[in-house]
Symmetry: C2
Subunit: 476 residues, 2 copies
């Protein structure tokens, strides 16, 4: 305890090293030990950081083997193109220009086939256009005499770079030709600059184009033939997954609200799925954009209406906003009395299950790519339950009188006559339930919006009509 008093002025030291013995507080050896401990902490911190990083990396590898294969593909494409380079005949032919093949592979190889194709086409066309324009401008500059040549070239670089950069700001251009415009600026600058020195412009252009062609073909072959990741397929799976998540969240939310605490465990895990729907806009847009570049693959032909998927996604989001609000109402502090909840329990649960059934049916339509005859009947069921819920709401004021005066309820039980005084029920108590109910009705309306968009997709993509096997009803 004497030691404790001695070092009372350095209490913060002790707090910093809560596991240390009191020996560590002796000033002489303290400094060394402290720095040792710091070093140890740093080493432990770094080790833990690397460990958690590797763990995260391992998880990505295990959960998304496609990404792992993509890495191997990039490595393979690069070592392939390097092999080209190691072979002397090719090197002799193309000289240092061969590095453009390596560069093309590194820059152009993307995760999805669509993105790779988009970049390849952009790169090839932009290089060709900018090369031709560069040579043209170079010829014009040559005509202007030696004095004006650099000025003309420099001014043309300024003008074209500024114009191309400006076009990159226009959203519709940016979505499709952003990379092309970048390569256009790059190639034009390089050609007009190097043209001033190197006189073999045409030869250089030819070499550049053929090395880029080598790089591009290696990229396209590797990305299309070895475990291809199609942007279209990814978009399709994303929309399907989101439909499922939306259905699960809706079910989960309503179940959480109306059922007892014991059964909550199961539903809560699916509760947050709708958040993925809220945040998937950017992914959907880029996927749809890349999917347009892809050739026919799997069940999708070349002109598959990818834009319609964006509309489905957008209508799903507008439904997800309501589920977010519903979720907020459910976790609100003001909770309705149990008796009132019971009144709505049955019809709300039925409405949510019918609504999520419609979503699941849409998921089936999407998955099987056949028009499901069951969708119509599930929508009908959903709408019927909406009407039921509405009549349950209509009948509520009368019920209120019963609910809120248990004594009266007991005495009046079975009588049709109402109590003689109007009930001064705090509406605030019934409000949470009625809000949940009206949100459910709105959600049903939004789900009809999704149904319309999926129907439109089915028409545009010419989904097969439902077969006998697929539907319970006999096919017409």
């Amino acid at each position: 305890m004497a030691k404790g008093n001695e070092f009372s002025g350095r209490l913060e030291w002790r707090i910093n090293v809560p596991n240390g013995t009191s020996k560590t507080l002796v000033p002489e050896s303290g400094i060394i030990q402290k720095s040792c401990r710091r070093l140890q902490d740093v080493v432990v911190g770094i080790t833990l950081g690397i460990w958690s990083f590797l763990h995260k990396a391992w998880e990505i590898g295990v959960n998304e083997p496609k990404k792992f294969f993509h890495c191997l593909k990039v490595g393979m494409a690069l070592s392939l193109v390097s092999l080209f380079y190691y072979m002397r005949p090719l090197y002799d032919g193309y000289g240092t220009n061969a590095m453009w093949a390596v560069m093309t592979v590194v820059v152009v190889f993307e995760y999805t086939v669509g993105a790779t194709l988009c970049k390849c086409v952009n790169r090839a066309i932009a290089t060709f256009l900018a090369g031709s324009l560069g040579i043209g401008v170079h010829w014009v500059a040559n005509q202007c005499g030696e004095k004006f040549e650099p000025i003309v070239l420099d001014f043309s670089v300024f003008l074209l770079a500024a114009a191309a950069t400006f076009f990159r700001f226009i959203p519709s251009v940016k979505a499709r030709f952003d990379y092309g415009l970048l390569i256009f600026i790059l190639t034009f600058s390089l050609v007009s600059v190097s043209g001033y020195r190197v006189d073999k412009l045409f030869e250089m252009a030819h070499q550049r184009l053929s090395t880029i062609a080598i790089g591009v073909s290696i990229c396209i072959i590797t990305s299309m033939l070895l475990c291809p990741v199609w942007a279209g397929q990814e978009l399709y799976s994303l929309i399907n997954r989101n439909l499922e998540k939306l259905a699960d969240s809706l079910d989960g939310c309503v179940a959480e609200y109306f059922t007892d605490d014991d059964t909550k465990e199961d539903s809560s895990k699916n509760l947050q799925g709708y958040k993925c729907v809220l945040n998937s806009k950017a992914t959907e847009e880029s996927m749809a954009n890349f999917a347009r570049w892809e050739p026919a693959h799997g069940r999708f032909n070349f002109r598959h209406p990818w834009k319609q998927y964006l509309k489905i996604g957008s209508s799903m989001r507008s439904c997800a906003y309501y589920i977010e609000t519903l979720n907020g109402c459910i976790s609100s502090e003001i909770q309705a009395p149990e008796s009132l909840k019971k009144h709505f329990n049955d019809v709300c649960m039925r409405l949510s299950s019918h609504s999520s059934n419609v979503l699941k049916e849409l998921g089936n339509t999407m998955k099987s790519m056949t028009k499901s005859s069951k969708t119509e009947s599930s929508v009908r069921e959903m709408n019927f339950t909406v009407q039921e819920l509405q009549s349950a709401l209509k009948s509520l004021p009368y019920q209120l009188a019963l609910f809120t005066s248990p004594a009266l309820e007991a005495s009046n039980n079975g009588k049709d006559e109402a109590p003689t005084e109007p009930s001064k029920v705090p509406l605030l108590e019934i409000l949470p339930v009625t809000t949940v109910a009206s949100l459910l009705i709105e959600i049903a309306a939004r789900i009809e919006g999704i149904v319309e968009e999926v129907d439109e997709l089915a028409n545009q993509a010419e989904f097969k009509p439902a077969s006998k096997k697929g539907s319970k009803e006999p096919a017409k």
Copy 2:
């Protein structure tokens, strides 16, 4: 009419050319005229397309002059770096490596200073690391004998490219070092490939690094000194703008619901502002990411808590979801009776105006970067109005009896006694209003969440306390 009969079989022709005279339907000259017309249509279509495109471009230039200046800056940086190239001494020193300076400028120059700095640092470090590693691997490969050299080199390219590509999938790495990893793969492949041929590796590395340094410094100087666009400033303005839009939308929505048709015109233009808040997540994240690279500028120091802006943005989005729902309820088909609306009109309008006042006050806090003493009182007012609305809701069942039987209302007017029979009011009719009211209460709760996040920002960024001038109350 006879002519009409004659061509009745080609009615669709007439529909296609509604402005044409009947002469155009004569088959002989029809084909030529038809193709003329097609050509004309195509030309008109192209002209219109180009016109609308230029119009869009012009609009961007006029509305966002910063973007226009950025284009000029890119052009200037490129012509500057080309000028370097035209000067023979530099060319003699660096040879064809000088093109790396051009390439660096094209690829690295971004719209915001933060993005440019991020790319510059990434490029410089990645080039240095990959270069050193490449030379190291090249030395190891050299020791393995001429036969194994290409194999070792090729395998190392495969391994490192695959590993670096994998790291690009990890979100935290991707956000900050995506470009660096790309350049790492590129440089390592180029060094190990060209090292096999060119023996002057060190000289090349030196040249590469110095040309990149030229490009990088031109980029940094141009982007930071000429009308700099700071990512931090952009993020700050975006959050401020969104706060305003949220306030306007809230006001607009509630006003649209409760006021007459005559005054709707003014409010509806601001109604859709909250949609920008819903969709700004990706922009906010990338801006916050780039802002971290920026040095102190304007009112922001180097370690400004940019991450806190993301939290503010996220709490604003959770509020915007409710406004979206509110907007849906307002445009819903079922509308409450006017008498009921009037009951809530006053208190709802006050709540919405107090709520939007809080938002505007937060906007002022952000704009002036001083803790506003008014915020607290506006929050208090808002919460007080929430309580008023809650008591308005509590008193509703009693009111219902009055509203729904106008005859009774007339006879009972002024009396405290309630009607003798409980009212069988369709709750469905009052539901829209109560839902709007409960959404408004939830929105107020979400706004308190925004207040907390802004307070946290004020603490982290050490906003000045409110001055005498800034607040109506005397400073303590």
